[in-house]
Each structure stands twice: as structure tokens, then as C-alpha cells.
């Protein structure tokens, strides 16, 4: 069974059961599907006899972004920069400390309850094995959400979605997760997310654990599904090439903050933040003459328990000056390209950086 030899009738079988995206669209096409403002999550580090808070890990600190309807936003950054925490905050798996999440014009916790949000937002996790209950058959796993939400014919939905993601329901429905390969399991996870007919799917490193050929299949499947079901994706990865392939826009995070947001082509042409530039230059080149000779960035990211003052990247930045140690740069559009946002004093003519307004030197 391959993903391509599906009869159109199977596709048709899913469509009518899915509420048409138009009817659930409350804010109109111009309203971004998700607006996140100043999202903050600090994890307390407890210790001592009474378990008092000894320190706080600033996992996500003042993150703001928008996701337009139907687009794919890629989120990239080093391990521990807050990508996954952001994802979990978005689907309400962990509670935010501060900030707003506005889903299709409705604020979470105001006009939109967490329960309602969960009808519209689903997540696919990195570890395809840990994200499936080993005691449930594939069919039961996929149908669980639909049963919880009281959608009609959950098992029928599960089977048709399994067929859609390229798993023959007659052969796979009654199997257990350990009887499947990694790629097949990740297809199951995708089917499970889609069984709730969500509008936003958060893919947290969803293809990172797969080998390259399977990864490509799953990526293609994801693109097809997005068009077919009118989905919006937030795609978290540390693989820039994968993000480039699937995303419309890319958001770069560093130590719990957004440092750059830009359309894919724009960021590929010009990385406006020094961190983004080092991230891109760390990509292995396919050309042996063009090999990376020196490490673009040395050392580990600073401890998020006590992040550097001012610009959080100044401890590792080649262009850092005095102002970077004290003043927090604002995320703002580049001159001449307002869609391309970066948080760096080099781009802010009024920042007081010696090279302010000149952009990142080569």
C-alpha cells in the first residue's frame, strides 16, 4: 500500500465528515489563525528541604508571533531554546505564566476555552514510539480523540484516515505500535492528529527521528494533507533544509526568545540576525570545496536559569558592542523588507551600536 495508489473514493469518504474549514472560520481569511503575544513560561527549579523555588528556568520569555491561515510556520533553534515549550504552551499541555494566545480572533481563556481549543489544535510528537500507547491497537489509538470529542463513527474515521496516510486499515488496524516501523508509526501519529479534524497541527520534530527516505515520504504526505484538509502547520525542527522545504515562513529562537522571523526565501537570501547566520553556516555543504573550516559558533548556549542581560546572544556574538550587554533589542522589520523581522541592534539605526543601521557585516 503506498500513499499514492489511493482511490479518490477514499478521499471522498473523509471529506464530508470533516467540518468544512470555511464553516469553522470565525475571523475571516485576513485574521491570522494564531496570534501569540509576549508568551512567557518560567519553570521553577525546586530544591532544599521544603521544596522552595531556588531558581527559574526562563524557557520561553516574551515570545510573539503570528501564524496566517493555511501557511506553515517553521520554528528552528538549538536544543533547549524553547521550541518544544512554545509548542506545548500553544496546545495547552502546559500552562502559560503570561501572555496571550489568540486563536482565530478568540483569546484563549477569554472567549475560547481550553476544551474548545483542543478541538482545533493537535500535535504530532518527535518520538513516534513514546507517543503511541503500546497497549492499544493502531485503530483504537487513532479513534481515541474522535471518541472523546463525540464525533460520529470514530472507528470509520480512523480507518479512512489510516488509508489516507498510506496504511492499509485491513492490515494495520489491529496491530500494536511495536509491530510497526518508525515511519509507519509516525503516519499513525499523523492520522491520529487528523482524526480530530483540527485546523492547526503542531509538528514537534515530527520527522527528525526518521531516516532520510522515510522522512521525505512523510514530508510529502504532510504537504498533501495540508492542501487537502486546509490545515495550518507549525513545524518545529532543527533541520534547516527540512524547514525550508515545508515552510512558508521561518521563526528562529534563541534562549527562549524570537530573534528572527522571515519568509523562507528572504531568510535564505539574507540572515538578518548574527545567530541565524551562524545557524545557517553550520549547515553541512554538499560541495567538498565549500566545506566549513572553522566552527561558526563556539561553546554552549548560556544557562537559561540566568540568561545574559541585554541581547541574550551577546556572549557569543562576533559583533557585540557595549549596547548589546545592556539594552534588549526589539523585534522589528528590516528597512526595505517589512516582512523580515529581526531582533538585533545592528538593524536599528537608533540603537546606539557603533555599526547601527548597517546590517550584519559579512
Amino acid at each position: 500500500m503506498s500513499a499514492t495508489d489511493l482511490s479518490p473514493s477514499q478521499d471522498q469518504a473523509i471529506k464530508p465528515k470533516t467540518a468544512a474549514p470555511e464553516s469553522r472560520d470565525k475571523g475571516g481569511p485576513g485574521q491570522p489563525l494564531v496570534i501569540v503575544r509576549d508568551l512567557q513560561k518560567h519553570f521553577p527549579v525546586r530544591g532544599g528541604v521544603l521544596g522552595r523555588t531556588q531558581a527559574v528556568v526562563q524557557a520561553v520569555d516574551g515570545v510573539s508571533f503570528e501564524v496566517k491561515k493555511g501557511e506553515t510556520l517553521g520554528i528552528v533553534g538549538e536544543s533547549g531554546c524553547g521550541k518544544s515549550t512554545t509548542a506545548r504552551l500553544l496546545i495547552g499541555l502546559i500552562e502559560r505564566d503570561k501572555g496571550e494566545i489568540i486563536f482565530d480572533g478568540q483569546g484563549l481563556g477569554e472567549r475560547l476555552s481550553l476544551k474548545d481549543l483542543r478541538k482545533d489544535v493537535q500535535m504530532v510528537f518527535q518520538d513516534s514510539y513514546a507517543s503511541l500507547n503500546p497497549r492499544l491497537t493502531i485503530e483504537d489509538s487513532v479513534a481515541f480523540g474522535a471518541k472523546v470529542q463525540g464525533l460520529d463513527d470514530p472507528n470509520g474515521r480512523a480507518r479512512s484516515l489510516m488509508a489516507r496516510v498510506g496504511l492499509d486499515p485491513d492490515r494495520f488496524a489491529h496491530r500494536y505500535p511495536h509491530e510497526l516501523s518508525g515511519g509507519q508509526r509516525q503516519r499513525v501519529n499523523i492520522a491520529r492528529a487528523l482524526a480530530m479534524s483540527p485546523r492547526l497541527v503542531v509538528l514537534d520534530e515530527a520527522v527528525s527521528a526518521l531516516d532520510k527516505s522515510v522522512e521525505a515520504q512523510v514530508l510529502n504526505l504532510l504537504s498533501d494533507l495540508r492542501k487537502e484538509f486546509g490545515l495550518t502547520y507549525i513545524f518545529i525542527s532543527h533541520d534547516l533544509n527540512v524547514v525550508r522545504y515545508i515552510s512558508d515562513r521561518i521563526l528562529v529562537m534563541y534562549l527562549g526568545e524570537v530573534v528572527e522571523v522571515a519568509p523562507v526565501d528572504s531568510i535564505w537570501r539574507e540572515q538578518a540576525h548574527p545567530y541565524t547566520r551562524s545557524l545557517f553556516s553550520a549547515m553541512p555543504s554538499m560541495d567538498p570545496d565549500n566545506r566549513t573550516q572553522e566552527p561558526p559558533l563556539a561553546g554552549d548556549p548560556p544557562n537559561p536559569i540566568d540568561p545574559p542581560k541585554g541581547c541574550r546572544f551577546h556572549t557569543r556574538c562576533r559583533f557585540a558592542s557595549e549596547v548589546c550587554k545592556t539594552k534588549v533589542p526589539k523585534l522589528m522589520g528590516l528597512s526595505g523588507n517589512a516582512d523580515h523581522l529581526a531582533a538585533c541592534h545592528l538593524h536599528d539605526a537608533t540603537s546606539g551600536h557603533p555599526k547601527a543601521g548597517q546590517g550584519v557585516p559579512q
Binding site: 500500500m1 503506498s2 500513499a3 499514492t4 506545548r88 496546545i91 495547552g92 499541555l93 481550553l114 476544551k115 483542543r118 478541538k119 489544535v121 493537535q122 500535535m123 510528537f125 518527535q126 518520538d127 513514546a130 507517543s131 503511541l132 500507547n133 503500546p134 497497549r135 492499544l136 489509538s141 481515541f144 480523540g145 472523546v148 470529542q149 498510506g166 492490515r171 489491529h174 496491530r175 500494536y176 511495536h178 509491530e179 516501523s181 515511519g183 509507519q184 501519529n189 491520529r192 480530530m196 527516505s213 522515510v214 515520504q217 510529502n220
Partner: protein
């Protein structure tokens, strides 16, 4: 596209895949030690259940002239005790009470302890702290001491023995249940289930219980032998079953004085306790390895 994956799958088994429990069952059946132990335990349970139909002499009827007859005496295959009562009958009838107060506390403690541990492990935070600290208080005492203390406070009797032994076994089962549940709680499939909007009870019922119950169950089966020994110990000390009820621990106590006259005879109740707890232990080991396969 997916051809590479599908081809390998076609080469693999096509028959309907085996369910988890039937897999465990078939592995237990293939293990000779487990099967022998299961046979012995079943034999003991069945003989205790059907004791009145086995044509045995009355276990309460003594004889002043036929006291402490050795093994193999005519009419008394395993001899007679210090009051001239038939040992075989008393051992088989004794199995009823001994197995009952040896197994039931673990069964009760399994349900109560699992419930407490799963709630503590799943909810976490303050609830976890409260439940686990209370459990720790009970944990501080050695189990024998705790059983004696509670039984002593409640007074002798079968019901009180059951209650005190249940209390003794709740803390260790809660501990194990809490540890296993917190491990499962951290896995992504619990997050995925919560993300569907399911309430805590549904998530626990569908996704937690099935994944934590087998380790707790295996642990509980290993406690049955301890429980039997403790129950026998309580009776031995006179704070469990009271005479003239046949019960292995109590019989061990009353025959103690005959150890120099007829040592084989006085050892018989102990042999029964030993065989039963050994078989239960080996059976629980077999179950543990049969359940521990997965991939």
C-alpha cells in the same frame, strides 16, 4: 513512496497478530517451572475448596489415645496432632483459612494501593506529596511489626487479621504504583491523549491503567508469599486465627511442643507454608518474565 516499507511488511507475518495477554499466556505455558508451580498452587486451592468432598476424617475430632501418631499410621496417612486429630484433614482444611487470609489482603491492597498510587502518580504535585508522605509513615515500620501492632490493637480474629495485613501491604503497592505511573505519565502518548481534550479519568482509564497494572500485578503476586507467612505468623503468635480452627501457622505453634517427640509431624505445616510461598514466588517470577517482552 511507501513501497520500501510495505515490501518488508509483506514478507513478515500475514496472520492476525497476537494480542498482548494471549502472548503472555503462551509464554507462561511454555515455561515448565511456572507450570509446575501453577499446578501445585491450583491443587492446594482446589483441595482446600473441595475439602468436605474428599472423604477426609473430621479435622476437629480428636482422640486421647491416638495422639501424635507418626506419619504413615493406618487410617492417618500423615499421622495425628497433639490432640489426636487427623493431620492430613487438618492440613487440607487448614489450607482454606491460610490461603484465604494469605491471599485476600494482597488482593484488597492491590486495588486500594493501585488506586492511590495511580492518582498520586498521575495528578502529581500536592496530591502526590500528601498521599506518599502518609504512605511513608507506614513504610517506616517493618511489615511484621506493623502487622503485629495493628492486629494487637484490633484484637485477635480472622477479620482483624485481614484488615491489619491489608494495611501492611497498601504502602509498598502504592509506592510501586506511583513510581510506574509517574514514569508513564511523562510519556508523549499521555500528552497526546490530554491534547484531545479527554478528562483525567478517561486518560487514566484508557491510557494509564493498562500500562501500569502489569508491573503492579507482578509485584503484588510476589507479596502473596510474604502475606501467607505473615498471616501464619500472626496465628502462631495467637493474634490471628484462634484454636481449634485448623490453620497452618496456628498448627505450627501448637505442634511446636511435640518437636522432640515427633519432629516430622511438627514440621508438616511449615512444609506446606514453604511449598505454597515458594510456588507463588516462582509463579510471580515466571509471570514477570512473560510480561517483560514488548519488542
Amino acid at each position: 513512496m511507501a513501497l520500501a516499507e510495505s515490501d518488508t511488511m509483506q514478507g513478515a507475518k500475514v496472520e492476525k497478530p497476537q494480542g498482548y495477554w494471549s502472548g503472555v499466556g503462551s509464554r507462561v505455558v511454555r515455561d515448565p517451572v511456572s507450570m509446575i508451580c501453577l499446578g501445585v498452587v491450583l491443587l492446594l486451592i482446589l483441595s482446600a475448596l473441595f475439602a468436605p468432598y474428599l472423604g477426609l476424617p473430621d479435622p476437629y475430632k480428636g482422640s486421647m489415645i491416638a495422639r501424635l501418631k507418626p506419619l504413615g499410621t493406618e487410617g492417618h496417612l500423615l499421622g495425628t496432632d497433639e490432640q489426636g486429630r487427623d493431620m492430613l484433614a487438618r492440613l487440607i482444611y487448614g489450607g482454606r483459612l491460610t490461603l484465604f487470609i494469605g491471599l485476600m489482603p494482597v488482593v484488597f491492597a492491590f486495588f486500594i494501593g493501585s488506586a492511590l498510587g495511580i492518582v498520586a502518580g498521575y495528578v502529581g504535585g500536592m496530591t502526590n506529596t500528601i498521599i506518599m508522605r502518609i504512605v511513608d509513615v507506614f513504610f517506616a515500620f517493618p511489615s511484621v511489626l506493623l502487622a503485629i501492632a495493628i492486629s494487637g490493637a484490633l484484637g485477635a480474629g480472622i477479620v482483624n487479621s485481614l484488615v491489619s495485613l491489608t494495611i501492611v501491604f497498601i504502602p509498598p503497592i502504592t509506592r510501586v504504583a506511583e513510581a510506574v505511573t509517574s514514569g508513564v505519565r511523562a510519556l508523549d502518548y499521555i500528552d497526546a491523549a490530554r491534547a484531545t481534550g479527554a478528562n483525567a479519568w478517561t486518560v487514566i482509564r484508557v491510557h494509564v491503567i493498562g500500562n501500569v497494572l502489569s508491573p503492579i500485578f507482578v509485584y503484588a503476586t510476589s507479596l502473596t508469599s510474604v502475606c501467607m507467612i505473615l498471616a501464619a505468623g500472626l496465628s502462631f503468635l495467637g493474634i490471628g486465627v484462634r484454636p481449634p480452627e485448623p490453620e497452618w501457622g496456628l498448627m505450627l505453634n501448637t505442634l511446636r511442643s511435640a518437636i522432640y517427640i515427633n519432629p516430622w509431624l511438627s514440621a508438616l505445616p511449615g512444609v506446606m507454608i514453604f511449598i505454597t510461598s515458594l510456588c507463588l514466588n516462582l509463579l510471580s517470577d515466571g509471570l514477570r518474565s512473560a510480561m517483560n517482552v514488548r519488542d
